[in-house]
């Protein structure tokens, strides 16, 4: 791809090709992914709210098994990771590839820390006998946080990739995905742990 007709056209035409998406910073295709993901998690959280309203007793009792401290810790970890990733984008734009790679590396380590905490939480729930099929609350909890954790794993792979091929574009695109993972977690945290 990108050869043939793609290469010989003017940049102006290409940037207009995305329509309203052209206004977004970074890669338009990544934004389609981000919007899709937000729609998915938004629908899941809305579904959670409705289910909770139908059976508040069960939800409140089950929610008591979650550890708000782990959730808060993971929020801090992920937001910090995001800050390093955002720093990496700025460094990449300034052309400082070495610094960019260092910052992505630190963001990556924070991502690993997030997963460690999350796996610890899962192990605790499972040890207490609350699995995927325990009740509606836990089904939703595992689906939403598990799907989010899968994004963290996928995001870590992307971070590794863009650290290896650290062009400004690649770093921007990869980190955009990572920030989406941040954003989703902030919502998930508020709904599952805080309310």
């Amino acid at each position: 791809m990108g050869d043939g007709e793609g290469a010989c056209n003017e940049a102006v035409e290409i940037s207009s090709g995305w329509g309203p998406l052209s206004a977004l910073p970074g890669d338009a295709m990544m934004w389609i992914l981000i919007i899709s993901e937000l729609a998915v998690f938004g629908a899941a959280l809305a579904g959670y709210a409705v289910s909770r309203a139908l059976d508040p007793e069960l939800f409140s009792a089950s929610q008591a098994h979650l550890d708000p401290f782990s959730g808060a810790l993971n929020t801090a970890i992920l937001l910090t990771s995001g800050a390093f990733a955002a720093g990496a984008v700025r460094q990449a734009r300034a052309g400082a590839i070495r610094t960019t790679r260092w910052l992505i590396g630190i963001a990556f380590l924070f991502g690993l820390a997030f997963l460690t905490v999350k796996v610890g939480e899962y192990a605790g729930h499972l040890a207490d006998g609350y699995g995927l099929e325990a009740n509606t609350f836990f089904t939703l909890y595992y689906l939403v946080t598990g799907f989010h954790a899968a994004h963290v794993v996928f995001g870590l792979m992307i971070l590794a990739l863009v650290a290896a091929f650290a062009s400004e574009e690649n770093v921007t695109t990869g980190c955009a995905f990572w920030h989406m993972v941040d954003l989703v977690w902030v919502l998930v945290f508020a709904v599952f742990y805080l309310s």
Partner: protein, 150 residues
């Protein structure tokens, strides 16, 4: 250089994203596979006769009139719960006989009624088919269908 690569980046994100969803789907399928084998179906009850019954079900293309767990043609009744509908939970022998009798008395030939063909099954084959229906009726289908009517 960067603009010429826009299309290839769009393609890579499409590939990467699709691969991610495919992997998630695959992982969930594996979980569901083991759930089906260990939890929702009676793996030990899957006798030769039940397997034989499933083959008869397939050889006679029953699915192209009936539905089974809601899937199939919509021309004839749901059979995933036919065992229950015929009272098989309380009176297995009665349900078995009723199913066999029904199969043997087709087609009804009544004008204006949907006709079921005569499949000329042996007594052993009819038993296997009944065993298959019994086994299917015991699958944990999340309480579907809503009632015995199917």
């Amino acid at each position: 250089m960067s603009e010429g690569l826009t299309a290839s980046k769009a393609r890579n994100i499409f590939y990467g994203g699709s691969l991610f969803f495919l992997v998630v789907f695959g992982a969930l399928t594996v979980h569901s596979h083991f759930y089906a084998v260990n939890t929702s179906t009676n793996a030990e009850g899957l006798t030769d006769s039940v397997v034989h019954g499933k083959r008869i079900w397939e050889e006679n293309s029953c699915i192209n009139c009936h539905t089974l767990l809601g899937e199939g043609a919509y021309f004839a009744p749901e059979l995933g719960n036919v065992w229950v509908r015929y009272g098989g939970r309380d009176d297995p022998e009665g349900a078995r006989e009723a199913i066999k009798l029904w199969m043997q008395s087709q087609p009804s030939g009544i004008e204006g009624r949907r006709q079921m063909p005569q499949f000329n099954l042996t007594d052993e084959e009819l038993d296997a088919l009944a065993d298959f229906f019994k086994w299917v009726s015991e699958i944990d289908t999340q309480n579907w269908p809503p009632n015995d009517a199917g």
